[in-house]
Symmetry: D2
Subunit: 490 residues, 4 copies
């Protein structure tokens, strides 16, 4: 059976940064697989290419299913779910990794499973290991056989070779060798384990449902199953959860100042998730307000670029008093791109997904609010559509600073030279896009909007903002080996 | 190969009225099939169950493809599209008809094709024939063999038996026997034909792209292919279009006062389509403003029930000054319902599709704006979700009058006894839904919002509003035969 | 859903004549659909491209399923079979018709169904209507709409327009207008009907299982369900079977001398079926014996061309005393041809299906027995393989006379000019094939082997042998209209 | 995408022993993948559940494809084959292993691939490792992670941990730790490697095509690609083949008397393959002759149980002078069993596959020749069918001695207590089967027929005949650990 190829390039989304993974785990419930499936469905925005679930049942042992495509299409039918019995399970949704040549194989789909002398373990990983190449070379030298092209497989091989006795101890041992950004959920026959890297770059939260416990990338996956949000797992924390003893917390790593990914606030997380005690929606509305303060302009309408620009556009409208309107309508049946389209259809590009509300826009001065500018290709097309429809002026307002550096911590970014902001000044970008004005929120303004009232601490920034600042909190060793140049120290 | 069953019951949309069809035709272009596919994609909201395309090529004759599922999944690949050559084509998207027992067969999917003595013709129909049962009995008696359970097939059999010489004449002949609401696009080897019933209940518009001509249910399908909107086809008008002579117009039916479906403004049409010279979005914003004037209430937030309540909610916010916010977030990966879900997943119901923005809603007085209340099942669940999230008050504002009567003109409505407004007063509904207040826009208010500044002309209403008023402009003969009781004359 | 393309061209079988259909019907049993499925499975050799089943249940009415592909793959699963309830059903397996341009559509797959004023009827047809074009023109003129490209659809339209009252009467009426060869099974809500044309060209047998009755193309389909073989339906006979009254027989056509297809004995029928009171296997063995008497030759081994030459080869060996051996081995996994093979694989041709038993053949004088020579392409390849393997001599013995004329009575034959025997004498064929000797059984010898001890009655042949003699018992009107020339009267 | 479940239980073949694998490799040709696909197609009888191919191309590195189902359905299309470029490739077809609980996963499908420090290697294995459990425990203890449930994966992990420098040396190192029966084909970037275990239990042959070299389980796979049969790989031999230097031979194991599987002659190998210088067909014919000499009986017909009994039946007929006839006809469309059949269809059992030629059998004394009796279930059903058809006497003649012991060397056998001959004497079996006589060939007779003119050397048998004699040439350690009892020494 040929591998089902899943078209990952959306006509629109290929001009976005993409979170590469969502992870979810549950222990102490009946039919864990259904919980995992629902949780992954809620996390689908973090990875649409493929998904996998592993469960454990005292009688039937470990079982797993890994599939290309959406959770809703793969992990709901009776026939699949009954192959995944038991009260304990973990799951993973993923995009393909930026660096991978060619197509993803099903063997690259997590969770990964390993049989150790003391029993089996499964592991699902969100993030990116920045010294994976070196680790892989060393492990192969010692006789490990890699089955996937995924960097995350290093963790399970390191665990297999650890001298420690228990699986949690082996995981600590393994993760101490790993550099980079990671949130991990793992399971043994009786334990659910969660870990965040010492910087806490990627999110991981703890929830409770009845007598059961949940680990999830975001709180929106707690809501879908009616679970209570308990707290975020802390940077550098490992929690080991059993049905009997509940949650036990360790801090196996050397403490470091935390560096949560600020782009989770801007774009990756779902607006109904809670981050830092506030809904992501509210944060984005606040970004829009801040943007309106920093870069006001006279206009008739504030329109979002759907759907990700919507909360910031509402904030901009509320702050500025300029009416909010849906000037661009999204075709809701455009879930994925067309499959192997004809030439004629391919040329339609962004029109398949978006349409301008012509009758509304005609003759108006329009502010377009978008979350970010990556390559700038989509921004140009949208500007053309708006002008075609008869707008008098077009003003872009962007809810993030210029994206000038690639992310090496689990986000799919184009190479640096393809980032518009890496090669152009703000003014050059305005000319390139052909708009009447173009303004990005300042880095300080963004920090204020996410709740840092004094703005960015340049000596020790409160977040990872490498994609804007080029200041990488973890050295990207593999990439430097491949020729990537860090920002020259100033 | 088993018929691919397409899950038509959305956990949410089954509490909506549903337009049953979208139609599209084009003549005088290269590769008509690509135009039809893109047009149908833009009309997908009018019918998600299945679609079909027929084209004609001077060398290869008529070709057709009919498929279950979305246009984007079926009508884009080179391998399918190259089987549909030629400069002339029509297409159709559909829901299953309310009355059909059991599942749709592929033979029920339009366009229908008939080989006549003077050549072939294909036909696609949006609407409903109210005397179809009687016509079908008569045709079978005379020896016609029906291949589908679709009422629309009557038209092609009537044409086959017509004594007229040309296909357009036979179509006139056939449609004069038909009662009900219909917009039709049809094609012969050289002609594209469009017809609207004398009341003009269902929409049909004319567009132009290069030297080619378009017929479409809505203008949004003109935008996607870069076509110019020329005008609406008039009630009772038949246009016959050839590549050489362009558009020729006839009025074969006895003239009648027009009765366009007012619900197209409220819900069916896409917000970026133009109806009556104004964008549907603006009309819906106006409905929201009118609603705010008619039924104001003190509150902290105006939230739409996504996605159809959004424009009216924006209008309500603009009129009332109460901030607009996305209190309910839609899972964008919930395109269709889960396939044969397990019990546990089925019980999640509406949560799979919607999530409340808990952190935002807590402690607030919330106005929820929705387009309509049909059975009321979804409204109750949404109210529960909002209260669970800690809202202090919940006020429903509905952008249409109470839906108390079924539609027999091409819209899928529950039986009358399942319509909440058929059995309850507005006050009983408020109690039933358990909300702090519930207000519908008045019928007069709705007429004002759609542009009738003097409101409804009760003597001869300007629109078909049977679903609100019970006043049916065409006698629903088949339904009366099956036992449906008209509203008692007052 | 893309039409499932079924590769009909076997690397080997495309050099065979092919029966185009098998038909089966049952009444008075529990779960008729399972009986029909098993019967069609036993008749699969008569049509591999597609199959269909219609059943009737007093509560659930008529139901049908039509699929491309093998019966075993389509009509066995619980999920399909439970959609076909009831005690009465008919079914059909088919090849595509020779003359059809392009690919078969699912709508061409029988049984055909028609709703008449007095109720529905379904019909399945084996054979070919020789005046179908004229009938179709007339019916379209009168307003019938054809849904398929199948000639058999004429029958159901003729029935729809008949002035008779009952369905059996209408069927008589319709079949009197039809010229050609046909065996038909049909059903109403309460009756199973079987008819053979007046010449009895195509087979049809009657069986009994418990209280139920069976109609089938061959007796092998009675064996698979444990049914008893009662008798053959006679030429020109119509049987109407009800659960209550059993079998009632009519002879609605003008009597004519029967002309059963002699090629059914040679190749089409399964060797375990009974024809004329004797197993087809025994008849074929007798053909082989007759061939050994007519055309003896000194040799070391008698080898069949598998699988169809096997019984005649055994007969040849028994008569001649030359040992029988499997010199050519068939790959049993070569059910169908490879799907869209690469160039390299396509060039392998017949090797994919057959391999010579090299160690056995080397240095031997080999007699190869085959059932027929059509184009001669396969015979050449097999001869090459045998010589490559080191055979000293190769002698072909063919169990039928030279095939020099196409069949127009329900068998897929190449056009006349592609038949080797239409353009070459026996001696030219021997030279063309490059074998040491080539002998066909004589027409008289074939008649003797099938039981006519005095051979062929040339004044009024006992069988239809048009493919050998060019004497067509029914005028092929449609083909003559298309330019086919009958054999000049001598 | 749900794992494609392949129905492995044939209604008939589940009463056969089944070879578990076929292997094939080629080097030095254009488009190696097409050669491997054709070779595997010819070896399909050795494994029908799944297949895999790995190729190497200097530019594109290693590529692989593994699929459930037949070779002809998976490895022929342009789209799959073009993903497998290069001049060097190996492949594997497999049944599932008897002992595996539950269903096969795609990760269990060979060839297995490992990336070592000095480069990658792929390996395909026919046979069974009798100390696999112990090896697996040891490897896991050392930190290897197994991805499959296949015993063959041990080999690649042993290779990964070997201290040797080159891949052939590591393979020698690994195979010296392995006990059991194995034929292996493997490949590096530049080498094709073949190995047989010291006893030579499973077959492996060397062929040549143009400048390229082939390794294959049987010679029939050489014929299909037009390759020349060079010689058998010898027991204990390792050949390392490069395009430049051709075949280099080593004997890395301690020499032992060879023990080729005698059942390859009886049933596993294809009749057109060459074993020991003679076609398998001729050997089977000789077995039939020997059987006729040992156990003659008066009768009217000798009939094979199709298809595997055919050559021995021909031999029996030639020796005895009793006419050979096809008394049982096999439905050639019964390639696999029905998919999830209804109860009614399941009960049809063997009738779906076989039908008795009733008209031929009636009143006759019939000798049925079969290759073996395993559980005896099929033999009983066939006897019933023959008697139902009216046979006067039924005599079974079996072309192998009683199968009383399971095979642990790569053949799928029922547990010992399910083997009819393990619990019954020949006479008890005759009564159990209810036939007039039942005779097995003697072990000595079988040895004579395969060419050992003096019969079996009981001191040191020339073949592995453990399934008949219970004398296992390699200790089945894993099975003994699980409780299997060896035959008591006498």
């Amino acid at each position: 059976m040929p591998a089902p190829r899943f078209p990952i390039a959306h006509p629109f989304d290929d001009d976005k940064l993409r979170e590469e993974c969502g992870i979810f785990g549950v222990i102490g419930v009946q039919d864990a697989a259904s919980f995992v499936a629902l949780g992954l469905h809620a996390l689908q925005h973090r990875g649409q290419e493929a998904g996998g679930i592993v469960t454990h049942d005292p009688e039937q042992g470990f079982n797993s299913a890994r599939r290309f495509g959406y959770v809703r299409d793969n992990f709901t039918s009776q026939s699949v779910m009954e192959t995944l019995p038991g009260p304990l399970g973990i799951g993973h949704v993923r995009y393909s990794t930026a660096g991978s040549k060619g197509q993803t194989q099903i063997r690259d789909v997590q969770p990964f499973f390993g049989e150790f002398a003391m029993g089996g373990a499964a592991i699902a990983h969100n993030g990116n290991i920045t010294n994976a190449n070196a680790l892989r070379r060393e492990l192969i030298e010692r006789g490990s056989i890699f089955q996937s092209s995924s960097d995350s497989e290093c963790i399970i091989h390191l665990m297999a070779r650890s001298l420690q006795r228990t699986i949690p101890e082996r995981m600590e041992d393994a993760l101490r060798r790993v550099e980079g950004a990671f949130s991990v959920v793992a399971m043994t026959r009786t334990k659910l384990i969660g870990v965040r890297d010492p910087l806490g770059v990627r999110p991981l939260v703890l929830g409770k449902v009845g007598d059961g416990w949940i680990l999830s990338s975001e709180t929106c996956a707690l809501d879908i199953i009616g679970a209570e949000f308990i707290r975020e797992i802390e940077p550098g924390e490992m929690v080991v959860i059993t049905a009997e003893d509940g949650v036990q917390s360790h801090f196996p790593f050397r403490p470091q100042p935390s560096k949560f990914c600020i782009f989770e606030h801007v774009y990756f997380s779902r607006p109904d998730s809670i981050l830092g005690g506030r809904s992501v929606y509210e944060t984005r509305e606040a970004i829009g307000r801040e943007l309106a303060k920093e870069s006001p302009v006279e206009a008739d309408l504030v329109c979002p670029v759907p759907d990700s620009g919507t909360p910031a556009a509402i904030g901009f409208s509320l702050e500025s008093g300029i009416p909010y309107a849906m000037g661009i309508i999204r075709n809701q049946y455009m879930g994925r791109t067309f499959i192997e389209p004809t030439e004629q259809i391919r040329n339609m590009g962004v029109r398949l997904k978006l349409n301008v509300n012509r009758a509304l826009i005609r003759g108006k001065r329009v502010i377009l609010v978008d979350d970010s500018v990556v390559r700038g290709t989509t921004s140009r097309k949208i500007k053309d559509m708006i002008l075609d429809a008869g707008a008098k002026e077009v003003h872009f307002r962007i809810a993030s600073p210029p994206t000038a550096w690639p992310c090496f911590y689990g986000v799919d970014t184009p190479e640096r030279e393809k980032l518009l902001a890496a090669t152009m000044s703000e003014d050059e970008m305005r000319t390139h896009l052909g708009v009447d004005s173009l303004k990005f929120i300042s880095l300080n303004g963004l920090y204020r909007a996410v709740g840092e009232t004094n703005g960015r601490d340049n000596a020790c920034p409160q977040y990872c903002d490498a994609c804007f600042s080029g200041e990488y909190p973890v050295r990207p060793s593999d990439m430097i080996e491949k020729g990537f140049s860090l920002k020259a120290a100033e």
